[in-house]
Amino acid sequence: MGGLPGPGTLGRLVPFVLLLAFLVYPVVGAIVRGLVAGPGPSSVETLTSGITLRVFAFSTWQAVLSTVLSVVLGLPGAFLFARLRFHGRGLVRALLIVPFVLPPIVVVVGFIRMFGAYGIVDSVAMVVTGSSTTVVDLATGVVGIVLAHAFYNVPLVILMVSSSLERLDPGLEESAELLGAGTLQRLRHIVLPHILPSVAASAVLTFLFCFMSFPIVLSLGQGRYKTIEVMIYDSFRWFEYGRASTLAVVQVLVTMTLAVLYSRLATADGSATGRTRYARTVALGEVPAVLKALALVYVGVLVLLVAGPVAAVAHAAFYDPVSATYTLDGVTNMFVAGAGGGLLPLVNSVLYATLATLLAVALGIPLAYARRDAGGWGRSLVSMMVLLPLGVSSITIAYGLMMSLAIPLGLTTSPWPLIVIAQTVLGLPFTAKSIGIALDRIDPELLDQADSLGASGLQRLLFVELPLLAPGVLVGAVFAFAMAIGEMSATMFIALPQNYTLAVVIYRDLAVRKFVQAGAASLFLVAACVVSFLVIERLSEESGGGVL
């Protein structure tokens, strides 16, 4: 692969230096300070405590349950999405990304309105059974937690697995068909082995998200259920830094083991790469009636689970539960400048997320090159670095940024650069991954041609390599943007009022019962995300391919 230079060694070092400075150093600093200086329970006390064990066990089994449910619910969707041609595919894909940007507290409110006692589902059940009291409550306890996790992660499974399916070379299936293999045989020997790595990778990522789940568990767990992340949060609040640090280390060990596993699985997935366009699809009209009916039932369930809470959010933007009336106050408030108005947070959200996305792309490109060219453990190391932001407690990141950077640098009065950094770090796993996949697909001969035609290094990079990487860059950018604009933990910890983003404002408004304002802000967040996704979809005909 000698003909594939990419950015020089220096360029490739930049992202590592930045990750070390803005992620590893603050987090390690915070953890070491806590372990050494406390106060609060020591590592030994924390690790031998029965409660830690219970919390660890709960974090694990609820994540396993959530992962199984997400994969089971996501797989049929992935097949439908990859194999069925229908109008509005692009829009559905854009909508599938919405759960990513919704701040968890909004999801909680939407969930309670949809699935909770006296919610929409319960109301229907009450009418059906003729009961005057609540019949089903799917929004509390383990059931609620697992369902909410499925809400977040079913779309993830669908997007990841369908993109892998789209890259399955139809020639293989056709050959098998010619040789007399039945549908089940083809499924078992060709399709399943092909998508297995992507299923496993999406499962690992889902597990990771659920294992570290925080506001969902806090709100729906009724105080009975805690994940390690919740315990870290509690410990920080009570200045028990010793316990917080110990738990953060435990968490990082678990998540990084999974991250390595994930990078290995994703690599296996990438090796079977073909181009999106080859995917074999059928039109809706060609599907047999029985399958159509099954698909319809499935889509119904999916709409209920994923679109239901989002619709509840949209409703909340116009309906004031305190006065029980419909109002446009929330929407008009979005255009009010000044204190309490939604304009500055809206502008902040978009600006920070745009900057963070640009940075995440700029850093993601050299990281992708570094990952491709490194071999064996070097590759795993790069993968780990890239996935680190997903595996470190966001509370610890926020605290570390505050202690190690904001205060020594005097940024506490104007902390917006830190917010951008925190958001960049969160988006990096997505840009690096999708750019990496696009990179693997570049035909090295093209670059040789550019060289032999006398293109300078910069010309080759700008006019040949980057345009070829464009689909990967764009798709990664969408996810990075979505993660950035929905980020809340770090922003909340660091921000002063002039830095509030929509996600933070939603929290603030809910806390003082400004429900319509919170609802409207959520709706804007959803709209910003869907619109940007559709724009990207237009820009890149070849989008969607294997961002994760």
Partner: protein
């Protein structure tokens, strides 16, 4: 069509899709001049610089007059009829008198988060004054390096500078003693944490035990499964309720406080914060008991235009008396504040009627200044004089010694 032609085509026209195999040789003849990459880099760099500058300008306040920074929690004074102008109304006169700007920095968190922030900034303080740390939070402990040895001490000692205003007699001594006899924090407002319910849903006719509520009543499945409270780790009313239970059961009734929580585990609903708990209470008719504030009936009446409130309070009853926990929220001078003299003047101002008169209808707490006249809807609120205070049952030293232990034990019972 040879492969190299295709490659040439792609190199020259990079925007064309890769998989386009319909390549006309004529394209190659329309040889476009090579673009200069430096221009593109320059334009991109300029765009990024403009964007960064835009963000920086938008987020930087113009340096003008001296600015006094006041840290508080997100919902401070946000419950009135017009929260958007409240700072101007309440603190405008001080700004005019001293020719300074007062910036009320509502951190997007609760009082506990404010304390974390102060602790983090202890070496290089940004705020001058803090409002909203209460009589339990002031007892929290942390550690700082003293002569290079990490030493555990009260966080209030690290972040607050004691201050005794000349007009301290505006405030009831009982409040000062309940909050902080050392004057690191001075009372700003106060209120009772107690159970509330909607009379349209349940009342003393349907549930006679509400009139003289005991924890034994609250342990019955009927009432326990109606109760919504807040997590004591994450919410100050939740913590106040835990202390209420401990004070009543352990100190008055004389039983193990842990028993009640074991009895109601799985029946009561524990929400992370007050707003989430309120949402459940408001939307779920089967959850009609909420751990909230004694001023809730006044709030309810205010929004029913002064008529009798729908919300009623149920206090805990023991041996002929009603009990409740009193929360006192404080105002304090930040140790190492950038403008200490101005900060002291501001604290003095906050204890006068100019600020205190706005507390009742905007903060829905009682003003600490005992000379301030209360609005008429406060006839429906529960005043600390109406009950026996649990603060004297469970003393400051009890709490300082056992608080973290209680929280761990609460976890042991409730989690899992």
């Amino acid at each position: 069509m040879s492969r190299s032609y295709r490659s040439v085509y792609i190199v020259l026209c990079p925007t064309t899709p890769l998989y386009n195999t319909d390549i006309r040789v004529s394209k190659v003849e329309e040889y476009t001049p090579r673009r200069d990459p430096k221009k593109i880099v320059a334009v991109a760099a300029l765009a990024v610089i403009v964007l960064v500058a835009g963000v920086a300008v938008l987020n930087t306040q113009l340096a003008g007059r001296t600015t006094l920074k006041v840290y508080t929690y997100g919902s401070f004074m946000m419950w009135g009829d017009d929260p958007s102008t409240i700072d101007e109304v309440v603190f405008g006169p001080f700004e005019e008198q001293y020719g300074v700007d007062v910036e009320i920095v509502r951190l997007p968190t609760d009082a506990s988060g404010v304390l974390s922030r102060l602790m983090a900034e202890a070496d290089n303080p940004v705020a001058d004054v803090v409002i909203g740390i209460d009589n339990i939070q002031v007892l929290q402990r942390g550690s700082i390096p003293i002569d290079d040895v990490m030493t555990e001490t009260e966080i209030a000692d690290i972040v607050f500078e004691p201050y005794t205003p000349a007009d301290l007699d505006l405030i009831d001594q009982e409040l000062i003693d309940a909050l902080d006899p050392e004057h690191r924090l001075l009372p700003f407002d106060f209120g009772l944490v107690t159970l509330v319910y909607q009379q349209s849903t349940i009342n003393v006719t349907t549930h006679p035990e509400l009139a003289n509520l005991t924890f034994a009543d609250l342990a019955t499945p009927g009432l326990a499964s109606a109760l919504v409270t807040e997590n004591p780790h994450e919410s100050s009313p939740g913590l106040s309720f835990l202390l209420t239970e401990i004070a009543v059961q352990e100190k008055l009734v004389g039983t193990d406080w842990r028993q009640w929580w074991s009895d109601v585990k799985g029946l009561i609903d524990v929400q992370p914060g007050w707003d989430e708990a309120w949402s459940v209470w408001d939307s779920d008719p089967s959850r009609h008991l909420l751990v909230s504030y004694g001023t809730d009936p006044a709030y309810s009446s205010h929004y029913l235009n002064g008529s009798a409130p729908d919300t009623a309070v149920a206090t805990v009853y023991y041996n002929g008396a009603h009990y409740a926990w009193m929360q006192v929220e404080g105002i304090g001078l930040v140790k190492g504040a950038p403008h200490p003299d101005l900060a002291r003047a501001f604290i003095d101002y906050c204890l006068t009627g100019a600020v205190q008169a706005h507390i009742a209808l905007n903060q829905w707490m009682y003003p600490a200044n005992m000379h301030v006249e209360l609005p008429s809807v406060y006839q429906y609120a529960l005043h600390p004089d109406d009950v026996e205070l649990l603060n004297s049952v469970l003393t400051r030293s009890d709490i300082a010694a056992d608080l973290t232990g209680w929280l761990s034990e609460w976890d042991e019972i409730m989690v899992g």
